[in-house]
Symmetry: none
Subunit: 412 residues, 2 copies
């Protein structure tokens, strides 16, 4: 089976100046074509180190994509390193020189001498056309392994890959296609999901099921390898059904669906309206809901009642309730939701009140303690949560958990 | 000279699912300490491949940072690979097990059996404390080379690096220190700033000044290389003064300061309070303001008036004003701000009303048209903006621009 390696070249990738986004893009494209990536290497602008990475890549892969180091300056050494690795010299290709000169002439700019190096290729290599920059890419072969050198600038790299590399690689992928789909879950931890799925997550299974998480959203990636896209999709479909059966209501959506999106769709479907009453989340729930186009169809608005005064004035929370239980309490969360639902004349209201930190926590009410209130035709209720990590995470998890409570209300 | 290598582990980094941002962050931190990174490796969740990368890293570096693969599931194999590489067994550390059990108990959740593996360390290795997650990190040594295994989740990784790794590495700092500081600007475009700075942004200058931008915030990076941190800081200080002189009020802050943070500090300093009245931003301004700890000192709350009804009910916007000018208009933006300031009894009120898209635009009122209203003791005013790109960008730029208008009011 064809496998790929990626070698990224550039000092800027090794000193924190630049986040390498090329690798994720390329590995994603390769996966779609059915070519798994075995490993990636990030190397400095040094010939010996680039050669060392090519040697490592050669034993793991038969397609090696190299990005960066094709520019005109002294620290652009990819062409030199590839020539050294292949055991050949660089030769000046007059046809390429002409193209580079044309590139500058058309733009009314003068070509500096430094650009001449971009017309040099390892003997026996082919140039890959660059439609939007000066540096041509390089294609070479060694004992059946194919090497493609692409520019480091993401826009040039992507264009060159699509134009001059994709078609050649597509031919390999045809016998094995890798298709990946996501299942989005909310309401429990990663380890609990792993336990529920048990053997389904074992290594080497096809489809492979793996798990990533962020801010309480657990994403299950179902990655199927099959001779055709149709077969892979079929395998994924079967697994998806099976996972949904096991995980039940923990699954809220597929692929890139957000909780807010799913909640919004369900509100529209049920023809119900929503209002929000936010304290510790400070507008974040409203923000997440209105991220969605057409949210005005179901979202009637909200209150950011960051002070007790605002809770009393806008949401009619009884002063005595705050005095007795404190603003961060279940009764206040419920009163906030009830007040918002009444004033906002909505079907469903959700509220948050909590301690997002970093200060303000006590032993009884620690940082991370958040009460979520819900009010609907079915009645009112409060939910106590303790979230960990930092202020941003506590707030985001509070907002997402509030959306998940709305989802539960809509389900019942 | 001390050199580092980074080994990133995870199939999700090799199939396009996840962009590796940890590597850039770590190499940046290492560079600040004067430790260059020799190479980076991205490896799949396979023990043999991780061991192979460690062997490659070992010949290049004496500090090896490994991220990812410390979770509780079967595909988390970093601890196993490190043990194999070191030629030792994994042992269960009861003190770590206790900590993991405590982590779950405090949060009222049950620990599943899978989490036990996180208490296993290679014999002779030390645990690195994880303050915000279950997986402890691992520190080990082999013939003078130090290995640090950190979580793959960026927030956990960064916290653990700062808490348990940075101090040990700081001691190695080399003879050339690279220090980087940021200047944050808002209110004009990247090319305009580049023109204002001219020759100061030339390549090869020390400090090097370069520019990145996102959502209207222009960040100038000042990167100084010098024999000592003090000298580098001095060079940066001089440049910073010079840039501030040239750019004036366009500069809103330094390093990682956000507009909301700067506005909040100034409100506290001037002992003034703020309320928000948001339509098209749907809570985002409130979210950005309450991202800041202690925002309750100046933020009295806000209204998310997503419907005309809510604008009239909560902010006393005259019905006739909406009928005459439409909800997306300067008079309505001003009325929203004035209503919010009065009801909320605050010194300053800011409002937004606009068309975030993707639909709802007309020739007169295109998608991206946003009015921002301001009300303060100095009077009221409205500002018309037309932002481009997608819904998320239009909303974020609207919210940031609103914050920038508050900054202007506080300056006058």
């Amino acid at each position: 089976m064809t496998r790929a390696c990626i070698v990224s070249i550039g000092n800027e990738l090794l000193n924190g100046q630049t986040v390498d986004t090329n690798t994720a893009w390329l590995t994603g494209r390769l996966a779609e074509m059915g070519i798994p990536t075995a490993a990636c290497y990030t190397m400095p602008d040094e010939i010996e180190e680039i050669v060392a990475a090519l040697a490592q890549a050669e034993v793991r892969a038969d397609v090696i994509l190299i990005t960066g180091g094709l520019g005109p300056t002294d620290d652009d050494l990819t062409r030199h390193a590839l020539a050294r690795f292949l055991g050949v010299e660089l030769e000046l290709r007059t046809d390429l020189l002409q193209k580079i000169e044309d590139f500058f002439r058309i733009r009314g700019r003068e070509m500096v001498a430094a650009n001449r190096v971009q017309a040099r290729l390892p003997v026996g290599a082919q140039a890959l056309e660059n439609q939007i920059g000066t540096a041509p890419g390089i294609r070479a072969e060694k004992k059946g392994t194919r090497f493609f050198c692409l520019p480091g600038v993401p826009s040039e790299m992507k264009k060159m890959f699509d134009l001059s590399v994709a078609a050649e690689l597509q031919a390999f992928g045809s016998d094995q296609v890798v298709v990946s789909r996501k299942l989005r879950c909310f309401g429990t931890g990663e380890s609990n999901i792993a336990q529920m799925l048990g053997d389904l997550m074992r290594r080497g299974r096809n489809p492979l099921i793996n798990c990533t998480c962020g801010s309480g959203v657990i994403t299950l990636h179902i990655v199927a390898t099959a001779p055709s896209r149709a077969e892979a999709e079929g395998m994924i479909g079967q697994d998806r059904t099976r996972l949904c059966d096991i995980l039940g209501d923990l699954v809220y959506g597929f692929d890139d669906q957000t909780l807010a999106e799913v909640v919004g769709q369900e509100l529209i479907r049920q023809n119900k309206t929503l209002v929000t009453a936010e304290s510790c989340t400070g507008g974040l729930i409203g923000k997440l809901i209105t991220d969605i186009p057409h949210s005005s169809k179901f979202f009637k608005g909200g209150w950011v009642t960051y002070s007790n005064q605002a809770k009393i004035r806008d949401l009619s929370v009884p002063t005595g309730l705050i005095e007795t239980h404190g603003a961060v309490s279940e009764p206040v969360a419920i009163a906030m939701a009830e007040g918002a639902r009444k004033t906002g004349q909505a079907d469903i209201a959700v509220s948050t009140t909590g301690i997002a930190g970093p200060e303000g926590g006590t032993e009884q009410k620690p940082v991370g303690l958040v009460y979520i209130g819900m009010a609907s035709a079915a009645g009112s209720g409060g939910f106590r949560h303790v979230f960990s990590q930092d202020r941003a995470t506590i707030r985001l998890r509070s907002a997402l958990t509030a959306l998940n409570h709305i989802r539960a209300v809509l389900r019942d």
